[in-house]
Structure formats: C-alpha cells, structure tokens
C-alpha cells in the first residue's frame, strides 16, 4: 500500500514545506502583534509587554531560520567529506593550502570529537601542519548556527563580518603555525605510526539521499540547540525590557580599550555553543557593548574551547598547544580592536 516511496517523499516534502515556511515567516510579525495587543490585550510600550513581544516574535523567527539554513547546509555538506577534503589539500603550497583548508573547514561535516583522527589522517597524507590547523580552526569557529543567529539578530552585514574575520584568523593562524615549524612539538608517536593510504570508497548518493542528509542535520542540530535558543532569547528578552540602556557601555563599550582582551580572557574558559551565546551577545550590544568587543567575546567562546585543547594534548606537546592558543587569542583580539576602530 506504500504508493509513495521514501525517496519520492524526500523530494516532495520540501516543495510542500517551503511555501508554508515562507508564509509563517512573513506573517510572524503581524500575528505576534495581534496576539500581544488584541488577544492578551496588553498595553503597548510597557516593559512587560515589550519583553513578551520580543520573546514571542524572536523564538519562532530564529528557529525557522535555523531549520531552513541547517537543512540547506546539510544538503551542501553531503557533497563534501573529510576524505575528499584531504585529497583536495594534498600537495598544496602553504598559503594556498591555508586558504583552501579554511574554506573547506566551513563545509566539511565533522564533529569536534573527530579532531584527533582528522589531524592524524591529514598528517599521514603529508598535509602540512599549518594547513591542517587552518582547517581545524575554521570548522568550529565559522559554524552554521552562529552565522544563522547573527543573520537573524543583527542582519547580513554582521554575519558576513563574522565569517570573513573567522576566515582571516583561520588562514593567518594556520600560516603562522606552518612558518614556525613546530613539528618537534608534535607528540612523537604521531610520525611513528605508519599508516597506509586509504582507499576512498565514496558512497554514490542520489539527490533524495542528500535531502535525507539535510533532514538528519536538522534533527541532530536543531534538536540539540533549540533549548539554548529559547533560554538565550528569554534572557535576552528579559534584559531587553528591564536592563537600562547604557548598562554595558562603560564595561564593554568602545571607549574602554581593555574590554577586548578582557572579553577574550573571560570567553576562552567559557564553553558554550553558538546558540546559547549569541542571544546574550545581542543583549550586550543593545545595552552599549561595542560590536568589536562582542565579536571577540563570541569568537573566544565558540572558537577556542578548553576541553578541545585538552584533547589535543594527545597529539601535541604542551608548548604547541600554548603557542596555538596564544596565536588565536591575539588574532581574536585584533579582530575586536579592528571592528571597534572602524564601526
């Protein structure tokens, strides 16, 4: 009785859901206003009303954006794999390799727990350590959830600035690590382990399989981060209505030069995902923090994490990890200072 096969269903469903998505997204603002003003009958302009309005509007908006983009990113990622990326990077010169690795870091699917096998696999294929690092830096820092949230809450310019500065940091940091020639600070066993080359057994995918890949990405990522989005926006909504306007200006404002290094120092040990941190960053900015400082804080939280550094200890000696962390911290601070100066 199963007339529509699974693969046909995969192709049809997006065509049905996409218009529904646009309808909801389009009417979200008027429906929110109608609900808050007419159904609940609240007085416009009071703290409570505006806090509630902000929350009711932002949560579905961000979740809608997140779902659509993660779905599309999932389809795009089905065309990439660590094996293909490694092949593409083999034999590339230092700078070209760093640029390519950083960009591939954005689209290649891999979870942070695979960082070590990836590092080993790249080293085994003779890819320079600096190029490998560009890949490992870009991947967590420029993650799709961060980009979607920045786009949803600040607009496309801020999202673009974030992606570009992330790319520049990944390229430069990897390039510097390559130039420093830190090979002697890699754990000895890494080069001793002799591993033959891998046969690439890329599965042939039909387009319906790629759409399935998109669904899986949505289920996995949105299923995991939605709760952080809701909590983050709730905190944001509360502050939106109740915290005085220039509350953060003296601490994280443009005039306070020390705010950038301070944000990075606070941000590194904090380990959070993009979904939880961005709504909070949006409040910081609204209450007077400058964009550069907020960006630096965010990059330090998302892109540099203590647990990840500890995992790296398995393949890198301590001086290497400290050098890496130092280069990253300086890079992130420079981005912060730059945007404080020009925005």
């Amino acid at each position: 009785m199963n007339f529509v096969s699974r693969s046909n269903r995969n192709l049809i469903l997006p065509l049905v859901l996409l218009p529904v998505w646009f309808l909801i997204y389009h009417f979200l603002k008027p429906v929110t206003d109608w609900f808050v003003d007419d159904i609940l009958g609240m007085t416009a302009g009071t703290h409570l009303t505006e806090t509630l309005r902000f929350f009711i509007f932002e949560v579905p908006k961000v979740l809608l954006l997140l779902t659509l983009i993660i779905f599309l990113v999932g389809i795009v990622r089905s065309f990439f794999s660590p094996e293909k990326t490694r092949k593409a990077l083999e034999g590339k010169s230092l700078f070209t390799g760093n640029v390519m690795a950083s960009m591939l870091g954005i689209v290649t699917p891999f979870c942070s727990c695979s960082a070590i096998p990836l590092f080993l696999g790249f080293v085994e294929a003779g890819i320079p350590i600096g190029v490998t690092f560009s890949f490992l830096i870009a991947s967590p820092m420029i993650n799709e959830v961060a980009v979607v949230l920045l786009f949803g809450m600040f607009g496309w310019k801020t999202a673009a600035i974030y992606v570009l500065s992330g790319l520049v940091i990944a390229i430069t940091a990897g390039w510097i690590i390559g130039k420093l020639n830190l090979r002697h600070w890699v754990q000895d066993w890494v080069y001793e382990a002799q591993l033959g080359n891998q046969d690439s057994d890329d599965e042939k995918m039909k387009f319906a399989d790629r759409i399935q890949y998109g669904y899986n990405a949505v289920r996995e990522i949105v299923g995991k981060v939605w709760i952080y989005v809701v909590i983050g926006i709730a905190v944001g909504a509360g502050a939106h209505g109740y915290v005085p306007q220039d509350f953060m200006a003296s601490l994280m404002g443009r005039s306070a030069w020390y705010s950038v290094p301070l944000s990075v120092i606070i941000g590194v040990p904090l380990y959070s995902n993009a979904a939880g941190i961005i709504p909070i960053v949006s409040v910081l900015i609204e209450k007077g923090a400058s964009l550069g400082t907020a960006l630096a804080f965010m990059m330090a939280v998302i892109g540099l994490s203590l647990p990840e550094m500890i995992i790296l200890k398995k393949v890198l000696k301590l001086p290497f990890i400290l050098t890496f962390a130092g280069i990253m911290a300086v890079g992130i601070m420079l981005v912060g200072f730059l945007f404080n100066a020009i925005m």
């Binding site: 660590p82 094996e83 490694r86 699917p109 891999f110 979870c111 727990c113 695979s114 070590i116 096998p117 990836l118 080993l120 696999g121 790249f122 085994e124 066993w189 382990a193 591993l195 033959g196 080359n197 891998q198 046969d199 398995k314 393949v315």
Partner: protein
C-alpha cells in the same frame, strides 16, 4: 563475527556502542564486541571521523550513528556469508 567500535570518549561513540550491543543482543547474533579508543589503533582502519563500526576488520560505518535497522542489515550480510 568480530565487531569493533572505534572512537574515543565522545557522546556519539558511546551511543553507537550501546546501539550495537542492543542489536546484537536482540537478534541473538554470535559476536564479540570490542570498543577501541586508542588513536593509534583507530588510525589503522584509516578512519578520520569517529565513531566507526568495524565488522571482521572491514569499516562499515564511519562518522555517524546509524539506525538500529541499518546495523542489523549489516550484521545479516555477514551472517549469510
């Protein structure tokens, strides 16, 4: 049948191990299951993404947690052979 789960410590690796044990138990499959979390050992299977499911030294799944049904199908293939 010799089943190995490759992966060190991450949540997905644990999920795959649990799922594999469930499938083996529920279908009464004769197998030894070993969890491998030594990176040097993992790299011998040329996987760059964990977790991975290895049956009789052949990498069947890498970088994701499949459904229980998918794992069952893989095991059936080996049982018939």
């Amino acid at each position: 049948m010799e089943i190995k789960i490759l992966g060190a410590g991450c949540a997905k690796c644990k999920a795959l191990e649990k799922l594999t044990r469930d499938v083996v138990e529920r279908n009464g499959i004769q197998a030894t299951i070993t969890k491998i979390d030594d990176y040097a050992e993992i790299m011998k299977y040329h996987v760059m993404t964990t977790p991975a499911l290895v049956v009789n030294d052949r990498v069947e799944i890498k970088g994701r947690v499949p459904s229980g049904e998918e794992i069952r199908q893989i095991f059936l293939k080996y049982q018939e052979a």
